[in-house]
């Protein structure tokens, strides 16, 4: 079972299991308890699609989060990445993937209709599309922008360009041209 987890092969899984057995009281029992609790309580937030223990996740339930901004992300891992940055104080919407012709994922397989309904119901002022800078990610972003256009809400996307600590010599030409287009005055 452990070897099926991402990042673990059969040998590393065996080593982890032996370690857990050796530290039965200290690690194995608390881990088993925690996993059981997660299996019983973890659920998808009915509003944004984040994972939490209640019907509505901590972010959606928090009164401190701004209600006028919704940041759209591909999956929960992206939401957690945004939260690590601690710079966004609004709420999220997790799509659950991107449009993909190859994998036959269409708009109805993602949480796009829920997003449109939410923007209407919550009187949202801005939707920030924080989707991956890939062909699938940007195709999805344009599709969502099209769907939101009739609602008159401001739709923005994350900037693309030189990453912090990045060296121009190592950047691909697409990133350099995107960075050049998004240049700003100093």
């Amino acid at each position: 079972m452990m070897a099926k987890l991402p990042g673990l092969g059969p040998r590393s899984a065996r080593r982890a299991v032996l370690h857990l057995i050796k530290k039965r009281e200290l690690l194995l029992m608390p881990l088993a308890d925690a996993l059981h609790r997660v299996a019983v309580t973890a659920r998808e937030c009915t509003i944004c699609g984040n994972i939490g223990t209640d019907e509505v996740c901590g972010i959606c339930a928090s009164a401190k989060r701004a209600t006028g901004e919704i940041c759209v992300v591909e999956d929960v891992a992206d939401l957690w990445a945004m939260e690590r940055g601690q710079s966004f104080k609004g709420r999220y919407h997790v799509l659950g993937g991107t449009l993909s012709a190859l994998d036959a994922i269409g708009p109805e397989d993602l949480r796009i209709p829920q997003l449109v309904a939410r923007v209407q119901a919550e009187q949202t002022q801005e939707v920030i599309l924080a989707l991956n800078a890939t062909v699938d990610g940007q195709t999805t972003a344009h599709y969502i922008a099209d769907q939101l256009e009739p609602l008159g809400v401001q739709v923005t996307s994350l900037a693309q360009g030189v990453p912090i600590g990045g060296e121009l010599d190592y950047l691909d030409d697409g990133t350099i041209s995107a960075a050049l287009r998004a240049r700003k005055s100093l």
Binding site: P6, G7, A101, L102, G106, A133, T134, V135, Q138, T139, H142, Y143, A145, D146, D172, D173, G174, T175, S177, A178, R181
Partner: protein, 241 residues
């Protein structure tokens, strides 16, 4: 087995934790798949975006093995990502090639046309017309070309105004007679002329779409045409209004 070639990336699938299986439309080997070790790494993943022009080295022990690719970027088409219509065009091209091309059979004229079309996407205002002619060439290359040289009824070469939805042959206005409403309108753009207006391009895409669905799709196991093509047409129509 080993060869080196250039190609246009059509699709990428994750394989295991760190590798990817890619499908590439190559110049000399047609649509050809292969594994890219470390294809999901931060270094290689940005290179592996559909539409990218790649320099490829393919190695396998036997010819019919999937084999492994070593890839080098030649030209990224990432700049198209900010242009929603051009991105829809790119998606339609890669999806249709993935849908239509048989594996490991070279299609050099179509390859060159595809490369030229992808280079036109975005900057040129006439790329929708080039896309229409590319779809016509795709039908030709797959063995389902339209015969628009003369009227199927009268043999006339002028005044061609319709296409027969059954035979794919041109019909003149005179030859159509009372059957005109059962025929597909033939825009001049499909005959190599016209001004490339959006209405005519969309009319032409209705013709090529009809034959892609009626002739090509049944030959490929009756799969529906890729959704990406319908999205491009919708986008072009929206842009027009």
């Amino acid at each position: 087995m080993e060869w080196r070639d250039q190609g246009i990336l059509l699709s990428v699938r994750k394989h295991g934790e760190s590798s990817a299986i890619i499908d590439v439309f190559t110049e000399g080997h047609g649509r050809h798949g292969g594994v890219v070790r470390g294809g999901t790494s931060r270094k290689i993943a940005p290179i592996l975006q559909p539409g990218a022009q790649l320099d490829l080295t393919w190695r396998a022990r036997l010819e019919d093995h999937l084999g492994a690719y070593t890839v080098e970027p030649v030209q990224s088409r990432a700049a198209l990502m900010s242009d929603r219509v051009a991105l829809a065009g790119l998606n339609a091209v890669t999806a249709l090639l993935q849908f239509s091309l048989p594996e490991r059979a070279a299609h050099l004229p179509l390859y060159r046309r595809t490369q030229a079309l992808l280079d036109m996407l975005g900057p040129s205002a006439y790329w929708p017309l080039a896309y229409l002619r590319w779809e016509q060439a795709l039908l030709d290359e797959m063995g389902y070309g339209l015969d628009l040289s003369a009227c199927a009824v009268t043999g006339a070469i002028d005044d061609l105004a319709y296409v027969s939805p059954k035979s794919g042959r041109a019909v003149s206005a005179e030859g159509a007679g009372e059957w005109a409403d059962r025929l597909l309108p033939l825009p001049a753009e499909l005959l190599g002329g016209g001004d490339g207006s959006r209405e005519n391009v969309l009319e032409g895409l209705a013709v090529t779409g009809h034959f892609l669905a009626r002739w090509l799709a049944p030959a490929l196991g009756d799969k529906p045409l890729p959704e990406a093509r319908a999205r491009l047409i919708e986008r072009l129509r929206k842009d027009m209004s």
